[in-house]
């Protein structure tokens, strides 16, 4: 019996599980889209921001919305660890002849896949309605965006998995995810450009891996030129490095079978 069979079984099972949870599936895409429509149009028309390098605020906000979708998706997907533990499924999975890492790998792969698809749907839905410049062309720009979204979701899946194996309750997990990820979203350039900010905010943006995802997404779709951005080279280097590290961290520990961990 191969590990491929085991992790692919886990992948299929978790995909089925998410696809059956319609409310989870739709809400993690609809919330960012509503955000985009109302905040984007409101700020764009009401405040007329002048520091944007291209397009209007709604177009600028798309990259942040895609990142936000991935954050929501990773949070929801990782809740399946708690569901599996509480329903006893995790015990059955870990009683198979495969190592816990194989099981975790299959589960996280499903989480990554769902996150990527949801984020790209948000991008595809928004693209026709906002003023993207597609400086590298639509096809290259979209392929670049796919690569960014993939790395971002690998990183988020790893982070969520690392947390899920260390935090005992789902409530605690959601609290920590929100506490960590919402500030990261605010300092990432998702809602406003991080250049010309006070130094302390710019430093926070520089050490925030989500900033590099936003920067790369802005460059691939929204931006007219690379001027005023960090550049795809740096973005991919940071995102790739952090994604690999965090994902491996997520595989280091098995989620606990019981409340007491015994």
């Amino acid at each position: 019996m191969s590990s491929f069979s085991a992790w692919s079984a886990m992948f299929v099972r978790d995909m089925q599980s998410v696809l059956r949870s319609r409310s989870q599936l739709y809400s993690s895409m609809l919330t960012p889209l509503l955000f985009l429509v109302f905040l984007g149009n409101g700020v764009s028309k009401g405040l007329s921001p002048s520091k944007l390098t291209a397009g209007d605020f709604t177009a600028y906000l798309v990259a942040g919305t895609v990142v936000m979708t991935s954050v929501f998706s990773a949070t929801f997907s990782s809740a399946s660890f708690y569901r599996d533990r509480d329903s006893g499924v995790l015990r059955m999975l870990l009683s198979s002849p495969h190592s816990a890492r194989v099981v975790l790998f299959g589960k996280s792969l499903a989480g990554v896949c769902i996150g990527v698809v949801q984020a790209l749907i948000v991008l595809a839905v928004a693209a026709p309605f906002v003023g993207f410049e597609w400086q590298y062309g639509i096809i290259t720009g979209f392929i670049t965006a796919i690569a960014v979204v993939l790395l971002l979701n690998i990183m988020l899946a790893g982070l969520a998995q690392a947390l899920a194996s260390r935090v005992q309750t789902m409530q605690g997990f959601h609290l920590i995810m929100n506490l960590a990820l919402f500030p990261l979203l605010f300092f990432s350039g998702a809602f406003y450009p991080v250049h010309d900010l006070p130094m302390w905010l710019e430093v926070l943006a520089r050490v925030n891996p989500l900033s590099y995802a936003v920067d790369a997404l802005e460059l691939s779709a929204y931006a007219r030129s690379a001027s005023g951005f960090w550049g795809l080279g740096l973005d991919f280097a940071v995102l790739g490095g952090v994604a690999v590290l965090v994902y491996l961290l997520g595989l280091t520990r098995t989620p606990r079978l019981t409340w007491s961990g015994k």
Binding site: S5, S17, S87, G88, L93, S96, P97, H98, K262
Partner: protein
């Protein structure tokens, strides 16, 4: 080298602690190949811990443990089928999807999966529910699904941890019937339970476990052989220690224990005892019943925790 005649499980002085709590404390036993082996004990006596260790889901314990002649390891789980105390099926998945997932985890696919899954669904009366979500199954059906899932890969050792918890008597009969009719003799079955009547009827060999160690072991007949022939169960209002001492002194009286206001007396001839009891405690005897001695009586004789376990068995 492990031969078919060797015990499937050989445990020597197994110890396991959780913090200051000692879950297993020198547990020693052999599970003969092909047997239906019952591990009996009250909740918290270490049964589930031992099953988890056998399934290599717990950190290696103290002592020496061999399963099929090897130390428990993840690869060995391919030869084990485990039914846990709680259900382990995803309520959102269908019955067939549950088996398919287990099949892929245990390397059963293609034609073998189709054949084996249909065979087991039929044996456990679930063939009509194959496409239904697990959440729509009754408690008994879920336990049957657990059993089918554990047997899918044709394991040599089946570990059953309280497999009939929450199952009504009719379902219990159906479940044991389906299991033992098919499986007895074809594989080794280790059952952890606190249902003494169930163990009496299905097990070839039984070990009583208390506080993490085996206190008695044998066939149900061997364990009952040392008992008096009959058991008196006396509903007695506040018996004094002196009165119980008098009962113990009567010729033919065996074990005398008190639990939950009921005095259990093992005797050779119960009918001669009843009038003596009414003379000893006039007005305090509310009811007397006479049964033949069961595994339960043997259990209490060895374990001596009648009150606690009676509560669990009847709960």
């Amino acid at each position: 080298m492990h031969t078919p005649a060797d015990p499937v499980v050989a445990a020597r002085d197994i110890g396991r602690s959780y913090g200051t709590r000692r879950a297993l404390d020198g547990l020693t036993l052999d599970v003969p190949a092909g047997s239906v082996f019952g591990l009996l004990g009250p909740n918290g006596s270490g049964k589930s811990t031992f099953i988890s260790i056998l399934a290599a889901m717990e950190t290696p314990p103290e002592g020496e443990l061999r399963v099929f002649g090897s130390k428990p390891a993840p690869a060995l789980r391919a030869r084990l089928g485990t039914v846990f105390q709680e259900n382990t099926s995803d309520p959102l998945m269908t019955v067939m999807e549950t088996l398919r997932l287990a099949g892929r985890l245990f390397g059963v696919s293609g034609e073998r999966f189709r054949q084996r899954s249909m065979e087991l669904l039929t044996a456990f009366g679930l063939e009509a529910r194959a496409k239904d979500p697990v959440s729509s199954l009754s408690g008994g059906m879920r336990r049957r699904l657990e059993m089918a899932r554990a047997l899918l890969h044709d394991p040599e050792l089946l570990l059953l941890d309280e497999p009939t918890t929450g199952v009504d008597p009719e379902e219990r009969r159906a479940l044991w019937g389906a299991l033992l009719e098919r499986e007895r003799g074809s594989r080794t079955i280790l059952i952890a339970t606190n249902d003494l009547a169930e163990a009496d009827s299905v097990c070839d060999v039984v070990a009583f476990i208390q506080a993490g160690r085996v206190v008695a072991k044998g066939t149900p007949a061997e364990l009952k052989a040392g008992l008096r022939r009959e058991a008196l169960r006396v509903t007695w209002e506040q018996p004094s220690e002196q009165q119980l001492a008098v009962v113990r002194s009567w010729p033919g009286a065996g074990e005398v224990t008190l639990a939950d206001g009921v005095v259990h007396i093992s005797v050779d001839d119960a009918s001669s005892f009843a009038p003596l009891l009414f003379e000893l405690a006039p007005g305090a005897i509310r009811a007397v019943s006479i049964d033949t001695s069961t595994l339960e009586d043997a259990y209490f004789q060895h374990v001596g925790q009648r009150a606690r376990v009676t509560a669990e068995v009847t709960a």
